[in-house]
Symmetry: D2
Subunit: 251 residues, 4 copies
């Protein structure tokens, strides 16, 4: 049973990788690619069941509305989905219960798993810190993913009744201890030749657990997109975050 | 509500660490320590609710039987529990439903979490390999934990419908590709100054996920023992493996 | 003082990267590119002082002879220079003392430095092992670089009077201890998404030193080529190995 | 030819490890141990050739003076040797040219090698950053070793004519980029269960070189002390820094 897939935003950096990934994936057939000038009708005419939407914030809501109204299922990687847009989409999906939409700010399976693992591990260790390494063109520090990871760790510690991480630093005039996000220290390395990397450190008396993700290029997002496309035929309604489409429980 | 704890095998390497850890843990009170020459009655007289059993394979079954028959709960770190002994214990627990026994071959929380994470991650990556590093006194290779990790990864891949890991090696006259356990390659490094360490590598197009555990000493097992002692009052019956006492699901 | 540079083999994978790197480098001017169909006279006509030779084993000797005979200096990345060819080249250079040739099997500065550091560190640690990680298209194991690293470590240990590395392994039925090169264990990991990586482990009582190199693409060789092109105007004669053109001593 | 060794400060943490290490080392014979109450004459009476001085800042200068005046050679690990004391010692050694003193603030061979390698590598990479990880009892950040490493890297970059490391960070309100020491970013992680660890990151287009040292305990300093004791019979005069006693050049 091959799934018929369209890519909207096929000419962009993510889109062109997605086209290649879908063409290469077993069980998926690429039936349409839509660029900025093309009509979305192409998707319908090609008989696509699933559309991968990788365009720009100002177009994504209209595109997804069109897909839902025509009963297609949509895997969306475009950013810009604020609470208001999500509320409108949820309402629309109620009226089209046969449709399904996954909105994923991060299609890196490694990053999504790492964050999930960090949440599970956090209650069991005295210390937790995050080190992120990115290319030198990055404008902000710490990275959004690292901040998000620290927040999840902090919440999991609080839920488990843990107090502050142990830290006896008395003198740090230059700020070596880095950023503090909800009580968790986050360090940002900028290194030529690197892309996007994160190392989550947990430690207790006599032991350490370290979770590292490396993402070298846009192609790192493709396994996540392919996984989502294969899963969405079995889903209905709205999901935000790729983790909802992964199987994160053992038997 | 303080939990009253006895340590059986208190003079051994693990036992003496356990004594210290229980004394240091909030919410636990050490009420008895039992050495090779001492009677188990000490445990009863001291009013212990939970006993930590860290003796030797030939004593452990009798000790645990005594504890169960007297309605205590037992956290057991001694090895040697084969299928037959486990069956006898399970029968005994049926007759004493107020008791509970946790038998844990590995009290390292980091190692237990790492194995769990490896199972969850395995279905999502093309490649998976295990590198373990141990001290140079170790007699066997690969380590039992590494073999077990590889088996779990292999089973998770099979369950997810994945085939063999990609490998185009045609020439490897010296055996550089290491041990193969259920199709997963395992590498054993022996290094002076190290203790017990494992690195689980997952990779796909453009990304990697690496899970590393470091265990530097027997003290690494203490957080696991303390966690188990705190959890066992809420449990009944038999559990094998510390993972059963950890909370491994997010809300 | 700009150095005038030609690239021979400019259409190949290495060559096209070299063209870009030389164009981008301060102090270098790309004055000619030579493809398979082009005459080497182009190099002379363009007034190049240095030529980067990145062709194929069967052409490289003739190309380098031409360059030397015309008094140019040549940075050569092509393989296939056996002892006989090197002897002929050395003789030729005696007749052209104004010329210089660097033949470098590996232009990765990181890899060259790592090997040098491994040699320096080897005498001071009880244990030494090498783990290399490569993409899954690689046909042979262990990698040539890892074998070479192990040989250098072994030689440095011998020179320092060290005996065999400590290893008490008695049982290793699956070959987890990996390849043994001159007494040094080498482990080969094959992982989708990776390119070429090496980790050199040294350990003694209470401490470890780890040297890691990561090379993600052909572009990793460009800093080495640029460094060589900038250095060769100050050199005469033959050098084999980029390490000869690096400054590896502190003041 | 066995070297006869005395340990002064034998009851301290470093001293007691040193006693064990010298007893275990081939070619060394422990002939005297001196505690706080003992006379230094013990060292002379025992016929020691080399003394390892591991006491406290207020005693070390007198002890070393005594050793030099009696023609012994001294390996000194005690801190507190300021410029003034060093000048006096140098003068004293001029009058006793048969003596030799090594003053080493850090006996970890791994740390000394790592710093040396960092200096050698620094000129060849666009980016360089330092991450240090220490136990949670540490009072200051960044660690002295990390600051020293950053200074050495900065000096080596300047000497090679390199400019500032590339960094386009525009927004870092929480200080994730860490401390900046002579233009090099330094990050300080504090983690329960760890001891003293440093990771030096170098990166350029397409490649990375990472040097990591791990020091788990005082025992990590013993190989450095043993190496110094074996080397000092061949030396005269004053040396500051273990690196002066290591062989850091290849043939």
């Amino acid at each position: 049973m091959t799934i018929r897939v369209a890519v909207i935003g096929a000419a962009g950096r993510m889109g062109s990788h997605a086209v290649e990934a879908i063409e290469a994936a077993e069980g998926l057939e690429l039936v349409a690619t839509v660029g900025r000038e093309d009509s979305l009708d192409t998707v319908l005419e090609a008989g696509a069941e699933v559309a991968v939407e990788l365009t720009v914030p100002k177009s994504t809501e209209d595109n997804v509305r069109f897909l839902v109204e025509h009963g297609l299922k949509a895997v969306v990687g475009t950013t810009g989905w604020d609470a208001e847009k999500l509320a409108r989409l949820e309402e629309l999906l109620t009226a089209h219960p046969e449709s399904a939409v996954l909105i994923a700010p991060n299609f890196s399976i490694g990053a999504v798993l790492a964050m999930h693992f960090a949440e599970l591990a956090a209650p069991y260790f005295d210390s937790a810190e995050v080190v992120e390494i990115h290319h030198t063109r990055k404008l902000d520090a710490p990275s959004g993913t690292a901040v998000h990871t620290a927040q999840k760790i902090a919440a999991a510690r609080t839920a488990a009744g843990l107090g502050a991480v142990p830290d006896n630093t008395e003198s740090d005039p230059l700020g070596g201890r880095g950023a503090v996000v909800d009580g968790i220290h986050v360090h940002s390395v900028r290194q030529a030749g690197m892309n996007a990397h994160e190392e989550i450190h947990f430690g207790s008396m006599g032991e350490a657990l370290t979770i590292r993700t490396d993402s070298w290029s846009t192609s790192a997002f493709m396994p996540g997109i392919v996984t989502a496309v294969k899963e969405i035929p079995h889903r209905t309604g709205l999901a935000v975050g790729l983790e909802n489409y992964l199987s994160l429980r053992t038997a």
